[in-house]
């Protein structure tokens, strides 16, 4: 089988697309196809790679708009998914391109530094005793240590695509959660504060990062675990956190969202008042009725008890939430079978 690879080229300010035909052999990866082009057709084509074993994270590219690790993605699998022998290869999204498929990591490392990506050891750590940690404590962040910094998670991140100035790359949140969940760290609150300031609550929850992580780390869940931790550390005084809390509280108060009061609870009375034109717009078409009483779930007592019991049971689970942090949900199993 032959495939046509349309590759986005960028050399010294010039941009163009170039087509290459490759004969696909069984088990050929995207990286093997790129290497073959470079060796046999066009030595000027530039890309990065190293380990060829999904460990170094150097070779992520975008194929037909989705980030893939070139060394593990099979060309035949892509042909099957897109039902075509013509594939488009681009550099990762949301990166500055240096040349062809090579992107600039320096600005991303600068972003990563905002979350203080190093363990701040507790005072009782010493050369003699080290810093002891139980297997259970280790398991809270073990999975997150598997990030290979390939950049796939940011490629299609909707928030980063719109504006990178007030947000972080998803992998930075993964690192942030890894340290926040580490029992040896002396200053989880300080780090969390830095993460909140760097834009934690501006995540769109679009799940692109989780869908693209080749290691199954679930950055979107890491973001949620960080948010949860901000409530434990008293750092939830911002509009995003108040909005989440308003929704959460509605479950116990009535069982259902009280749309008419949601903005007031989230933004405060004055800021929400500025949204009056929107409220009038909604009232005009019958989407909002400020005089309608909000119904209360007949089982509200049970629901309140349930939420309270869950809060009490998770009180000491600092920072990681209740499910092993970042564990893939049912990775490797056919969830269709499971959930059917």
């Amino acid at each position: 089988m032959d495939v046509k690879l349309t590759i986005h080229r960028f050399v010294e300010g010039k941009e163009w697309t170039q087509d290459y035909n490759v004969t696909v052999t069984t088990g050929m990866t995207v990286l093997e196809a790129l290497t073959q082009i470079k060796e046999k057709q066009d030595p000027t084509l530039s890309f990065t790679c190293s380990c060829r074993s999904s460990i170094c994270g150097a070779c992520a590219v975008r194929v037909n708009g989705n980030a893939e690790l070139a060394c593990e993605m099979l060309v035949e699998k892509l042909v099957e998914r897109y039902q075509t022998n013509e594939l488009t290869i681009q550099p990762l999204g949301n990166f500055k391109v240096l040349r062809d498929l090579i992107v600039d990591w320096d600005p991303k490392y600068a972003e990563l530094k905002k979350i203080k990506p190093a363990l701040q050891p507790k005072a009782d750590t010493s050369m003699e005793t080290g810093c002891l940690q139980s297997p259970a404590e280790f398991n809270k962040y073990k999975k997150l240590a598997g990030c290979i910094l390939c950049g796939s998670c940011i490629s299609e991140c909707n928030k980063n695509t719109l504006n990178q100035g007030d947000f972080l790359p998803p992998f930075a949140f993964v690192k942030g959660q890894k340290f926040t969940a580490d029992s040896r760290d002396a200053d989880p609150k300080g780090r969390l504060k830095a993460i909140v300031d760097a834009g934690l609550w501006r995540c769109f929850n679009c799940q692109e990062c989780t869908a693209k992580c080749p290691k199954g780390l679930d950055p979107a869940a890491a973001i949620e675990h960080l948010k949860e931790a901000t409530f434990r550390y008293g750092l939830a005084d911002n509009v995003g956190a108040k909005h989440a809390k308003a929704i959460y509280d509605d479950i116990s108060e009535s069982g259902m969202l009280d749309e008419a009061k949601l903005n007031i609870k989230s933004e405060g009375f004055f800021a929400a008042g500025l949204r009056a034109p929107m409220a009038i717009r909604l009232m005009k078409v019958g989407k909002m009725d400020p005089f309608e009483s909000h119904p209360v779930n007949p089982e509200i007592k049970t629901i309140q008890k349930l939420v309270k019991a869950a809060e009490a049971a998770s009180k000491d689970e600092q920072g990681t939430g209740t499910v092993a942090s970042g564990e893939p949900l049912i990775k490797g199993k056919q969830v269709g079978e499971v959930l059917a």
Partner: protein, 290 residues
């Protein structure tokens, strides 16, 4: 196949997107799908509650699912986010028996009468029609011939693949297939995979309005006569904030934003009034069907 479903409406179908409920009821009646609302359901957490307390969010969804299990029925939803929250709870409780026992302990202590078992299937209205094409057979009274539709899936029906797992989340085609079956023509538009930003409307307002504008403008440039979406939250974001979105991207695009079941309703012979189109904020006079 069971034609009866325990229906999980989600909050907005009881409020701002009530037309999504009335149109679904009418469409299900015509297609022979029986739906019974899950009694005393609560909010799924709207993709926010787990960021406050994950165990509590899990427990309330285990409760929701257990009521449907007691009804002996699979669960049907029309909201992408509700579907994701319910299926996430199910996936987590399946993968971790210890967690399941713990959540069942919480349910019991709170006085909830049913145990969570994990026996009810959780599906979305769009998936139901994709899995059972026979439901539409012979029912298309008013084929939407010549109508160009921008299919806007939204995010939570596609991702994460491990939880949602219907078709290929990176290259879905089932909504386009359904729209063709209605007689209409799906159009490709550049912003089709962008997130509408609904969940960050307050926390990242400027960016959200920009992307709202980009999506509507992109569909307009592709000559779409309407955008149809299987998610009421996407629908609300694109419809209610269409004017601000226009301003944010300097566009003139006015495109009606339809709930998927409204579009299907038109093909089944329902009118604009039947499907509650008068409750839409934007492009009221631009819709040429129904």
């Amino acid at each position: 196949m069971s034609q009866k479903y325990a229906f999980f409406p989600g909050c907005v179908l009881k409020g701002a997107a009530a037309e999504a409920y009335t149109s679904l009821t009418k469409v299900c009646e015509k297609l022979g799908i029986e739906i019974e609302e899950i009694p005393n359901w609560t909010c799924c957490g709207a993709s926010h509650a787990q960021g406050v307390n994950e165990l509590a969010a899990l427990a309330v969804n285990a409760r929701n699912i257990s009521i449907a299990e007691h009804m002996g029925l699979p669960i049907l939803t029309v909201c992408n986010t509700c579907t994701l929250q319910l299926r996430t709870a199910k996936a987590r409780l399946y993968a971790d028996k210890e967690l399941r026992d713990r959540v069942n302990g919480l349910l019991k202590d709170a006085g909830h009468p049913y145990e969570y078992k994990g026996t009810s299937e959780i599906t979305h209205f769009l998936w139901l029609l994709d899995d059972h094409p026979e439901l539409l057979e012979g029912k298309i009274k008013n084929p939407l011939t010549g109508m160009k539709v921008a299919c806007y899936y939204g995010c939570h029906i596609l991702r994460p693949q491990e939880v949602m797992n219907h078709g290929d989340g990176k290259h879905p085609e089932y909504m386009e297939k359904l729209v063709r079956k209605l007689g209409a023509e799906p159009v490709f538009f550049g912003a089709s995979r962008k997130c509408c930003g609904f969940h960050a409307q307050l926390a990242a307002e400027r960016d959200v309005l920009t992307v709202t504008g980009q999506i509507v403008d992109s569909a307009d440039k592709a000559d779409a006569q309407c955008i149809a979406t299987p998610c009421p939250l996407c629908q609300m974001q694109l419809d209610m904030y269409e004017p601000e979105g226009r301003d944010a991207v300097h566009s003139r695009a006015e495109v009606p934003i339809l709930h998927l079941q409204q579009l299907i309703g038109f093909a089944l012979g329902l009118s604009k009034t039947d499907v509650g189109f008068d409750r839409h904020v934007s492009a009221q006079d631009k819709l040429k069907i129904g």
